[in-house]
């Protein structure tokens, strides 16, 4: 746990606090840890991304903090109430969008769904004007009397988020909000969530959609095999890699066989990753962790020049968020 420095508590109001959360499952008397000692916090107005591969434990964390699953040890405090003992009180100020099509009745219209789900909450009668405004905001105003089954998957997800926003909750929990969406719908949801970001709600979003996480979250909690790998802000995560990665592109103008070059350079410079090639252009990523690797990069440049291979580009790599997370998950950083 805590590969990177954890973000310090800065004394703001804490909406969600998870300490030492663990959950075990028994399958034919064999114990498996679904979650191991997970701890993190979500502050007022903060957007935290819960990131991890499929089966990492993201949904289990959400199920534990909403009372859908009983955890074995640890402590969850949601809106100052203990979970699961004071679950009903805690959930009054939480809006949840669960994974998949699990949040709407398909045989009810958009408005009927909104009214039904708002009636389950401790709030005054929903104001028609604010519902109309919300529907306009999510571009569903013209479909308010349409049955949900007739809406596209993206529109259904927008409706889920609209209902969550209408709850006026302190914390919005989103589990895989872009799962199963096509590119356009995915883009619309990301745009909508970016708009929400400007409001005062805190958001906990669990996803393995890197582009979504990258574009909306302030802080990332990375989960791997039920354990916590990282709890840090996105900027720090990116900076860590920005300072250590360089990309080199070379042109193979003499048709030198690729295999000979690869064999040659990997035997000399083990830390070099051959990232991509096409017929004429090869790309190399050089990860510089220490002085010797930096020297390797210089030597590699010399190698190409000596072999009459032109270096087309040598630049500091702007790390792709997906790449960063992939490397963290493959424990590259720990090594």
């Amino acid at each position: 746990m805590d590969v990177l420095n954890r973000a310090e508590d800065i004394g703001e109001e804490i909406v969600l606090s998870i300490d030492g959360l663990s959950k075990r499952y028994y399958k034919t008397k064999k114990m498996t840890f679904a979650l191991k000692d997970i701890s993190f916090r979500v502050r007022q107005g903060e957007i935290v991304g819960l990131l991890g591969a499929n089966g990492a434990g993201k949904t289990t964390i959400i199920k534990c903090l909403t009372g859908l699953v009983k955890y074995d040890s640890g402590e969850i405090t949601l809106n100052s109430f203990k979970i699961p003992e004071q679950q009903k009180h805690a959930l009054n100020d939480v809006a949840i969008v669960l994974e998949g099509n699990r949040n709407l009745y398909w045989r009810l219209t958009v408005m009927e769904n909104i009214r039904y789900f708002l009636s389950l909450r401790k709030m005054g009668k929903p104001d028609e004007k604010s519902i109309d405004e919300m529907l306009k905001r999510v571009s569903l105003h013209n479909d308010k009397h349409t049955l949900v089954e007739k809406l596209s998957r993206g529109m259904q997800q927008k409706l889920n988020i609209a209902i969550a926003l209408l709850c006026k909750a302190k914390l919005i929990i989103l589990d895989e909000p872009t799962l199963g969406l096509n590119i356009i719908a995915n883009h619309e949801i990301v745009k909508l969530l970016q708009e929400i970001k400007l409001q005062e709600n805190s958001i906990l979003v669990a996803s393995h959609d890197m582009s979504l996480i990258e574009s909306i979250v302030d802080r990332v909690v990375l989960i791997k095999n039920g354990g916590m790998l990282v709890d840090t802000d996105v900027k720090s995560l990116r900076q860590l890699f920005t300072s250590t990665a360089y990309r080199m592109c070379v042109e193979n103008k003499h048709n030198t066989t690729l295999q000979r070059i690869i064999d040659d350079i990997t035997s000399k410079y083990g830390s070099i990753v051959i990232d991509g090639t096409n017929e004429n252009m090869w790309q190399f990523i050089i990860n510089i962790y220490d002085k010797s690797s930096r020297e390797n990069a210089i030597e590699l440049m010399s190698y190409f020049l000596a072999n009459d291979i032109d270096i087309e580009k040598f630049e500091r790599e702007t790390p792709d968020f997906q790449h960063i997370v992939s490397r963290l998950l493959s424990r590259e950083l720990e090594s």
Binding site: Y25, G67, L91, N92, N101, Y116, S119, L120, R121
Partner: protein
């Protein structure tokens, strides 16, 4: 206030479901219509041996009560199975109003709707064939007391369905058991009192035979014992449902299908 608002909207949602599945609703009404019509016309093909007494009127009363028992008995398990199938059950579990209240509102609203449908169809048939059956007002009391134990049984079945999702076979066995127990004379099987249909039918026959007033009825040993046993079954049902809910949460199987 929010409970009242939710209760009203839940009722509205039940009505909407009737409208949104029109073929099912229409065929349901046609089915009842045909069965009641045949009963009113004196065609006793619906197992009169199951019901005490041999009169046509008793048969109609018996059928109404049997129908109420069966429709409400599987209400909670059907609701849980349906919500699990469409995937909304987890979402209902995380609502601040509480899942138990959602189930309560569903059960009461469904009972009201079924009762209204029955009353409307019965009166429509009686008017259309100009043949009338007199229903004693005290039957309402009997039905309400019977409902307490039906809901108790329904909570037990609902709890089991939270754990094993599909319980159609169990419901079928219980339905048959209830029907068969009804034909055993109460003198031979005193535990009949815990089976809502049997208890209700016996009480209806007692009301008819003795022409009780409400005050006389509530003082009868049969009524007192029946009410106590119905309340006990309801409490036991609540206990089992709560236990099954906790087990399902502990095992993390809410929403599994």
């Amino acid at each position: 206030m929010r409970y009242v608002r939710f209760f009203i909207f839940s009722f509205y949602k039940e009505l909407l479901n009737k409208i949104r599945y029109p073929i099912n609703t229409v065929f349901g009404i046609i089915g009842w219509w045909v069965i009641f019509l045949l009963l009113f016309l004196g065609i006793n093909i619906f197992g009169p041996s199951l019901f005490e007494g041999d009169g046509q009127v008793n048969l109609i009363k018996g059928y109404i009560l049997w129908f109420m028992v069966m429709a409400n008995l599987q209400e909670i398990s059907d609701f849980i199975s349906e919500e699990t199938k469409i995937g909304t059950i987890s979402f209902l579990f995380v609502q601040p109003i509480g899942f138990s209240w959602i189930v309560f509102a569903k059960v009461i609203n469904k009972f009201i709707i079924i009762s209204l449908e029955l009353v409307i169809i019965l009166f429509a048939i009686m008017l259309s064939i100009d043949k009338y059956v007199v229903f004693n007002k005290l039957y309402v009391v009997v039905v309400l007391v019977s409902m307490l134990s039906i809901w108790g049984w329904a909570l037990i079945l609902g709890g089991i369905s939270l754990l094993i999702q599909k319980i159609d076979s169990i419901v079928s066995i219980i339905s048959i058991t209830f029907s068969l127990i009804a034909v055993i004379p109460k003198e031979k099987f005193y535990l009949k009192i815990i089976f809502p249909f049997s208890y209700g039918m016996d009480l209806i026959y007692s009301i008819d035979a003795n022409m009780y007033s409400i005050m006389q009825l509530i003082r009868t040993r049969e009524f007192i014992m029946g009410t106590i046993s119905s309340l006990a079954i309801l409490l036991f049902g609540l206990f089992v449902f709560s236990l099954c809910k906790k087990t399902a949460i502990r095992k993390g199987i809410i929403g599994y299908y």
